[in-house]
């Protein structure tokens, strides 16, 4: 097997607590997105399009669904004779096992796997951001700067800097200081949680951290990077200037869907320049009945629409009954909305049944989002108030 120049390690273990009922049965990276996708499709497609063909996916919470979703990796063109995609649950070693303590610990526990692939560089990614990015450009930047650690950053409003890890850089983009959620930020470049490390060097730091400090949180931001900073390692910031969204909360998840709509959405899913791949379920074409009305919406295959859809996203397998109205909402796979139901400003989970004339979030005034968890049944004529969470 030839040595790889770079491989990616994708941290996909997150439980996504802030997504509430949407992650009851599945890990956050497996959460459906955009009518057709799951969150993890974005970093996996980015890897594939960037020419990175060896990817380890570190799972943890609810790993079976992700494991079967990823399969051989062929959906992302990552079924390779050498390398390809490998799902890595935190397996129990002879001495027992535990969940990863943090991002760096997750990599530490998979040193053996990375060593098998023997890469020059390791790209660390997380599985819950919506963006299109060419990692090969970042690698070229890393090499051209003679960087030892390159961190993807994006400009955030100064007011939000206290929510991020902030990179204080010089005019050459060299990072001279790292501030974790600072009250007084010196810069507005926030870490995207995307790192390129030189593997040989990172490996040493991971082992040193694990051996020196049993109580370490095993986190890149809190442990490894500060230590490396102290050692005067060369850090560079790589500025990303396209659409990027962390969909870690119900609000941002809903908003990211609304961002897909409109005349010129910031993230154009249909663009073929940088395809987002997915497992692509086999379903019949979408059927819009004589009585259907659709406006400013994304509708996936396998759907049957007899009602009215406004400013909404419908996943595959969704059925919308006659005279039902769906507005400003996201309807997840295989959910059925019976005739006469009215849904507004809502996220409706997978396999939900909304029975006849049920009302969901109708009186939403300040954009409160109503959420119905997977597999719920909303009885006929019931009224789920705006902002409620069912499930």
């Amino acid at each position: 097997m030839p040595k790889e120049e770079i491989m990616a390690m994708l941290l996909a273990g997150g439980k996504g607590t802030r997504l509430g009922v949407l992650t009851k049965n599945i890990a956050k990276p497996a959460v459906p997105f955009g009518g057709e996708y799951r969150l993890i499709d974005f970093p996996l497609s980015n890897c594939s399009n960037s020419g990175i063909t060896t990817v380890g996916v570190l799972t943890q919470y609810k790993p079976l669904i992700l494991n079967s979703y990823i399969g051989s990796g062929s959906s992302w063109d990552l079924d390779r004779n050498d390398g390809g995609v490998t799902v890595l649950p935190p397996y129990v070693k002879e001495g027992g096992g535990s969940w990863y303590k943090g991002t760096a610990d997750a990599i530490y526990q998979n040193i053996e796997f990375i060593d098998l692939n023997d890469p020059e560089y390791v790209l660390i990614l997380s599985g819950d951001h919506i963006y299109r990015m060419d990692y090969s450009e970042m690698l070229a930047y890393h090499k051209s700067k003679n960087s030892e650690v390159t961190i993807g950053v994006l400009e955030v409003p100064w007011a939000d800097t206290n929510r991020f890890g902030i990179m204080n850089t010089n005019e050459d983009q060299k990072i001279i200081e790292f501030q974790e959620k600072p009250e007084q930020a010196k810069n507005n470049l926030a870490s995207m949680g995307i790192y390129i490390f030189n593997w040989e060097q990172l490996r040493k730091y991971l082992i040193a951290e694990a051996e020196a400090n049993n109580d370490s949180a095993g986190d890149f931001g809190h442990n490894i990077i500060p230590t490396m900073m102290d050692d005067k390692i060369n850090f560079y910031a790589y500025k990303f200037e396209d659409y990027w969204k962390d969909v870690g909360t119900i609000e941002s998840y809903w908003q990211a869907h609304m961002d897909l709509l409109g005349e010129k959405p910031e993230l154009e899913l249909q663009s073929r320049n940088w395809m987002i791949y997915s497992v692509n379920p086999n379903r019949p074409p979408q059927y819009l009945a004589e009585s259907a009305q659709v406006n400013n919406s994304l509708i996936n295959k396998g759907t049957q629409v007899m009602g009215k859809i406004i400013d909404s996203v419908l996943f595959f397998g969704v059925k919308i009954g006659r005279d039902a109205v769906v507005e400003n909402s996201v309807i997840l796979p295989n959910t059925r909305i019976a005739s006469g139901a009215k849904i507004k400003n809502a996220i409706i989970g997978s396999n939900v049944i909304v029975e006849k004339a049920a009302q969901i979030g109708q009186e939403a005034a300040n954009n409160e989002i109503t959420v119905i968890g997977d597999d719920e049944i909303i009885p006929a004529n019931s009224n789920i108030k705006a902002g409620m969470v069912v499930g």
Partner: protein, 384 residues
Amino acid sequence: MMMTPVYRKGGRNMNNVMAIINNALNESFLEQLTSHRSLASVPFAARYRLIDFPLSNLVNSGVTNVGILLQTKYRSLMDHIGFGKAWDLDRKKNGLFLLPPSHIYQANTPYKGDLQNFYSNLEYIEKSNQEYVIITSPNVAANIDYRDAFNYHLENNNDITIMYKKINNFRPNTQYSVINTDDNDRVIDMQVDPHQKDYKKVSLQRYIMKKDLLLAIIDSCVSKGKWDFVKNAIIGNLDSLKVYGYPFHSYATIINSINGYYKSNLEILKPSVWQDIFLKNGPIYTKPKDEAPTAYKNGARAQNILAANGCLIEGAVENSVLFRGVKVARGAVVKNSIIMQKSELGKNAHLENVILDKDVKITANKSLKGDINLPMIVAKNTSI
């Protein structure tokens, strides 16, 4: 839920049945639609190719060894089928076999008929380890479970079983093979494309027989210089063999004319028909294509349509079938039309009763109108 049993070898199990999809048929009746592709790869029902139907039917019935006879223009078919992964037929044992025509061995000899295709692939048929064979064709779209027909074939001790469907209204200018049966469904006469249709039972071009019988019939026909599968191998043996019909009662459409192709697509807009054909005996598989969901923009109107993914609709579409990646600009109107992959309509363009092949561009303000019984066809890559 349906159960996938572990078949033991031989006997009455569907893994004792191989299939041949006969793609060496006359296909000129589809005019421009088959000028660059074979009948089998003609797009159908918003996201399929015709061959998806017979192939998925076989797989859903438990058949795991399928040979596809190729004759002409099969490049797009090869691209579509690949190694059969979409049908789970990319297998070490059995699986999918593309069977090229004899002229790749003997160039420049005149073509005699489809039995030549069977004949030049005798080795594949002989070496297959199934005892029975189903012979099908790409020009019938239906959702067929062969298991009952196969059981009937065995229990009735038929030599050949022909699936048929009773039809009351024949489409004009369409080729049908019709059969006449006695009260026990024994086939006593069969006619290929007769002017005068005395019989109402239409052959669905699905034949079940023993593989050894097929081999014997091919040998006998070829040695006598007879080269037509239906006329020689089947009709020529009606007297000497036990040939029985097996009725099919669900939706099936025979695509043997432009009119039939057009009407069949529109027929599938009826919920009862698409439920029959897409869902009844198992899914119809097709090559997966990466496409985002279809976007309906502000001001779009879409009623009574089937659409694939990746379309961008700003105008109005009704009673129509849209394949993937179709674009309908603001003010454009599409009515009773079939729009194939990646075709685009400019602003205020109007289409009625039209079939657009792939990659057609209709510029702004243009208007095309065929008749509901004579749709206008626009060839692939045309720009107007």
